[in-house]
Each structure stands twice: as structure tokens, then as C-alpha cells.
């Protein structure tokens, strides 16, 4: 089948015998070959291409792809801030990058010190006294957190507790985590202003509760102003409060999750602390918690004694290991570099600028787009395409049209409590000029929706591929390459 993409695959570029590198004949004796049953009968069918073909292929692809190094990326709830290149310089330093995972504690003191100090910094930022850096991504952090919460109840003879409450605006990972941890999801409706409703919570808070998972600021970008009352209700029922740390960017430096009454939280370092996680690449989802959950944190934890760092494996109540070694070290190293380079005052400035930028968009775009929850927001704002829907234009059409202007689309159709939702998170790293350009584009699209809706239905027109048939791709997925 002819590949409809504008760039051919490496397999299609392949020609027999072509090579990128020619190695000299080996001048040392060959090692014993692998046993025959472990060897391939014939060589793997890898593409045969020259070095410059490979380089050009990936450079061409990189110019077709949208990324934060190329232009604005206001994808809500994802905190697509610019990732400073200093992080890469540090992570690529051979003293870190070439460190063997099996190096002894004695010869990996520097790496252990980085991890220990990063843990201490995260404790300061969140206000919690305990930390693990081991979970390899946010969702894994959530699962680890739920396992800890269950273990806590089991140890107290209350292992029959099985229910976890979430609001109807929760991130999709929350119910998924609750199910995966073997608990029951209990969803409560948000109040009229989009925030948590203490009365709705009281109706469900009883001795069956493992706890509650909350995102603060919530997925509308609004701060949960009654969070201490909410925490109290859950604690009175014997439950624990879990903070989904996806929106930590809005709290940095001036609000403490621990003081809000949370017992445990995960941190998405790829959001708040500018580490890469693209295409589902390696991530890190550190967990911070109150003291009473410390005994259950995954093994090992890193300790320091008289300037020497070591793994503490003796943790009889731990939930066990969540990942190989101690998580994804080079990702954590980037977060460490970012926090050190930004500094305490810098982190607070990050949150303030992120909040200012989101409110700038909120105020200037509400003349053109419906704003169902008009309260002052923190780091992100959720509009609705309801006004445009009267002209037959949906949030999806607006999202696709944005691509024509070289801007990434916002998150659409989430949170579920907003009809035709468009969730916009500008982050602190964008200039006023970029935000003004985005406002101008969004206003132009609102006008197009009234005057020429067909233009939006046909968008995007200028991207390497036009609108993709997502329905057929989901109904009849074809993920196998056949030549």
C-alpha cells in the first residue's frame, strides 16, 4: 500500500547493502556465540539506509511535528512549558549519563546525593515530611499512592474500606487508578461554581472510605477555596486525602498542599519541573506524604548519614518496589537542575506568571467565547464553544483550525462538566506578544465560525496531513507495517 504520509518511512527508504557506518574487521578473537536457540535464524529486517538519509528523515519529521521548541502549546492540564536546555546539558554530562545502574553505593554517591536533595526540595515545596522518587510517571504515582492508602487502613484493621471519592471534574487517570487498585469509584457532583460541594461529600463520607482524590486548583483552573473543610469531612470519616499534583504549577512557592489537609500527593515532574515526557517516554511521578504513610513508601528510600548517602532497604511495611532501580534517574536529574536553576523566589514567580497569563486570556477571550465558570482562575481557563455551536461549529473544529495558524490546539472535551470544553493553559514561559497573537487568532476563528463555518469544518488546510479520520482509526486500528 502506498504510504499516504508526506514523509516516507525508513523502511521505504531502505536499499539492500546501504550502510550508515562501516566498521573495520575485528582484530580480537570472537567471544563464544550465543546458544543457537537464542539466535535468530535470519537477520532482523531492519532498514538499510545511509547516515545522511537518516538525519534528513528525522529533521524533516521534526519540522512537520508541533512541539514547544517550535511554537505555542496551550494544552490544558498538561503544563507544556518550555524545557530549558540547561536540563539537557546536565543530564548529558558523562559523569551522570555514563554512570552504570549497578555501580556500588560507594561509587554513585553523587547520583544518590542528587536524588536525596531533590527529595528534600520536593518536601519543602509541598510541605510534606516523607518522599519517594521511584514511580516512573504520574499515573504510577497515583497507583502507588492508592496502594499506600489501602495499606494504611489494612494495618489499622480496617482493610474492608474500599471506596474512593472523586468529583465529576476529575482527571480520567483518577477513576482508572481507583479501579486498578481494586477500589470502588464514587463520583460526586461539583457545586454550581464548579468547586467541591461539602454537602455532596457528606452524603458519601462514611466508614467505607479509603479516601478522596482531589485536584487543586481543579480541572477548571479554579482554586478549591473550601479545601480545608473538605479535608476535615474526609478525615472525620477516617479517610485519607490524595492530591493529584497535575496542577502544582499554580501553587509553587506560596501554597502548601500539606496545610490544605492533604495526606499524600504525586508530582508530575514533566509538567511542573520541565522534564520531557513526549510520546510516553520515561517520566517520574514522585510521591510526598505525611509521616504516618512513610512506613509504606516503596523500597528502597535514600538516606543520608554523616555526609554519606545510601539505600535503605529495611522497610517491612513497604508496599514494595514500583520500578527498577530507583525510578528514572536522568529524568529526576533534569527536575533537580530546573529547581536549582529557578530557585525559591523563581518558583514563586513561575506560579504567579502562569496565573497571570491564564487570567489575561480569560478576560480578553470571554467576549468571543462562553465562559461557563467565570470565577478568577489560576493557571488555566476553560471556555465552551457553545456560542459557536449555534453555527454548527464544534470545539473540535476550532481546535483543528488553530493548527492552521501554527498553534497547538487546547485540550478539548475535558473536563466533562463543560459542554464543548476548550481547556487552555498558557504556562509562565510565554511572552505577552505570544498571548496577544493567540487572542487575535482565537477572535478571528470566532468570526469565521459565524461567517464561514465550512472553513472550520474543513480545517486544518495547511498541515502536512489534513483532518485525520479518528473514528475509523479507533474502530479498525491498523498498527502493523507491511511492505
Amino acid at each position: 500500500m502506498q504510504n499516504p504520509m508526506p514523509e516516507r518511512l525508513l523502511y521505504e527508504l531502505s536499499a539492500p547493502g546501504r550502510r550508515g557506518v562501516r566498521l573495520p574487521e575485528s582484530d580480537v578473537p570472537e567471544a563464544d556465540p550465543l546458544p543457537k536457540k537464542l539466535r535468530r535464524d535470519e537477520p532482523a529486517p531492519l532498514p538499510e539506509v545511509s547516515e545522511n538519509e537518516v538525519i534528513r528523515h528525522f529533521v524533516r519529521l521534526s519540522t512537520m511535528n508541533h512541539h514547544v521548541d517550535r511554537d505555542y502549546y496551550p494544552l490544558g492540564s498538561c503544563t507544556m512549558k518550555y524545557n530549558p536546555k540547561l536540563n539537557e546539558v546536565v543530564a548529558n554530562h558523562p559523569w551522570f549519563a555514563d554512570l552504570h545502574p549497578f555501580s556500588s553505593t560507594r561509587y554513585s554517591q553523587g547520583a544518590l546525593q542528587v536524588l536525596y536533595e531533590l527529595g528534600e526540595m520536593l518536601k519543602t515545596i509541598t510541605g510534606f515530611p516523607a518522599v519517594t522518587l521511584q514511580p516512573p510517571a504520574g499515573a504510577s504515582g497515583e497507583l502507588t499512592g492508592l496502594m499506600l492508602m489501602k495499606k494504611y487502613h489494612q494495618e489499622r484493621g480496617q482493610g474492608e474500606r474500599n471506596r474512593v471519592i472523586i468529583p465529576d471534574s476529575a482527571h480520567g487517570t483518577n477513576p482508572a487508578t481507583i479501579n486498578f487498585a481494586g477500589c470502588e469509584v464514587v463520583e460526586i457532583p461539583s457545586g454550581a461554581d464548579g468547586t467541591l460541594d461539602p454537602d455532596a461529600l457528606r452524603r458519601e463520607a462514611d466508614d467505607r472510605l479509603v479516601g478522596m482524590m482531589v485536584t487543586n486548583p481543579n480541572t477548571l483552573g479554579i482554586f478549591e477555596s473550601r479545601i480545608t473543610e473538605i479535608s476535615q469531612i474526609v478525615h472525620d470519616a477516617g479517610g485519607l486525602m490524595y492530591l493529584d499534583g497535575a496542577n502544582l504549577n499554580a501553587l509553587l512557592g506560596f501554597a502548601s498542599p500539606e496545610k490544605m489537609g492533604f495526606d499524600i500527593m504525586h508530582i508530575n515532574v514533566h509538567k511542573t519541573f520541565s522534564t520531557p515526557h513526549g510520546g510516553g517516554g520515561p517520566g517520574a511521578g514522585p510521591l510526598c506524604s505525611v509521616d504516618k504513610l512513610d512506613p509504606y513508601l516503596p523500597t528502597p528510600v535514600i538516606r543520608e548519614e554523616d555526609g554519606t548517602y545510601y539505600h535503605d532497604w529495611v522497610r517491612p511495611k513497604s508496599v514494595g518496589k514500583m520500578h527498577g532501580f530507583y525510578g528514572n534517574f536522568l529524568v529526576l536529574l533534569r527536575a533537580y537542575a530546573y529547581i536549582l536553576a529557578t530557585g525559591k523566589d523563581g518558583l514563586e514567580a513561575v506560579a504567579r506568571a502562569a496565573i497571570l497569563n491564564a487570567n489575561y486570556l480569560r478576560v480578553l477571550l470571554q467576549s468571543d467565547y462562553e465562559l461557563p465558570y467565570p470565577d478568577r482562575c489560576l493557571h488555566e481557563v476553560v471556555f465552551s464553544a457553545d456560542r459557536q455551536a449555534k453555527h454548527g461549529v464544534k470545539a473540535l473544529d476550532i481546535a483543528k483550525r488553530l493548527l492552521d495558524f501554527g498553534v497547538h490546539a487546547p485540550t478539548v472535551y475535558f473536563p466533562l462538566i463543560v459542554h464543548e470544553a476548550m481547556m487552555i493553559e498558557p504556562t509562565e514561559t510565554e511572552t505577552k506578544e505570544t498571548l496577544d497573537r493567540f487572542i487575535e487568532i482565537m477572535r478571528r476563528i470566532a468570526k469565521e465560525a459565524e461567517e464561514n463555518p465550512e472553513l472550520l469544518h474543513d480545517a486544518p488546510a495547511t498541515t502536512p496531513v489534513r483532518r485525520l479520520d479518528e473514528a475509523t482509526a479507533s474502530r479498525k486500528p491498523n498498527v502493523r507495517y507491511e511492505n
Binding site: 472535551y413 459542554h419 479507533s474 474502530r475
Partner: protein, 128 residues
Amino acid sequence: MANVPKELKYSEEHEWVRVDGDNATIGITDYAQGELGDVVFLELPEPGEEFKQGDSFGSIEAVKTVADLYSPVSGAVTEVNEALDDAPEKVNESPYGDGWLIKLELTDSTELDGLMDAEAYAQHIEQE
């Protein structure tokens, strides 16, 4: 404007019921399929499973979201629309016809009185 056939009963969760004696056929409304967009997968129960009114009997996955399906009446499943396994698009193309989801044997026909008629449902979706 969404199609709301006169002869059916409707739930607030946008399911419809067609009654024939003790048998009820259940699907989602034209309005619901329009809101969901292109349906790509359905998780439906097995014949014999029993549901109470308001129970979740499965889920429906569209490109943009996944939603629970709620039974508008109580009963035991007698038949499941297996054609949807290969052709979930029937829910979009014909929500009141080939896109039906399950058939139930009713256990309490008085529950039907609590459902909306076409006029009330048309008003309900107007307010959504």
C-alpha cells in the same frame, strides 16, 4: 434538531425504551449519539444478566469520551445487539433502529410511568 420519536419512552440519561408486552428494547437517543460523536466501541452485558433501574449495564466509547450506559428499567437481558461489535457506527447512523443496544424482559412495568414521553424529553434536551 435531534430526532425524538413519539412512540418511545426516555430517561434523563438519554436512553430510550421501546415496549412490546414484557419486552423492552433499549438504545441511546439521537441527541446522545450527536453529543458523543463517532462511536468506536461498546461494552455490553451478556444475556441473562439482570439490572435494576438506574444500574450501569455497559459503556459506550466515542472518539472524544467514554460514557456509562444506564438501564432505564429493571429486567433480565434477553438479547444483545452483537452486530455492533463489528459496526459500532450503527449507533450513530440509526440510533432508534439497527443501533439498538440490548433487549430486556421487564420485571416492573410500572417503572415505565416514571420515564419521559417524547414531548417531555424534547424539553429536557432543550435545557441541556
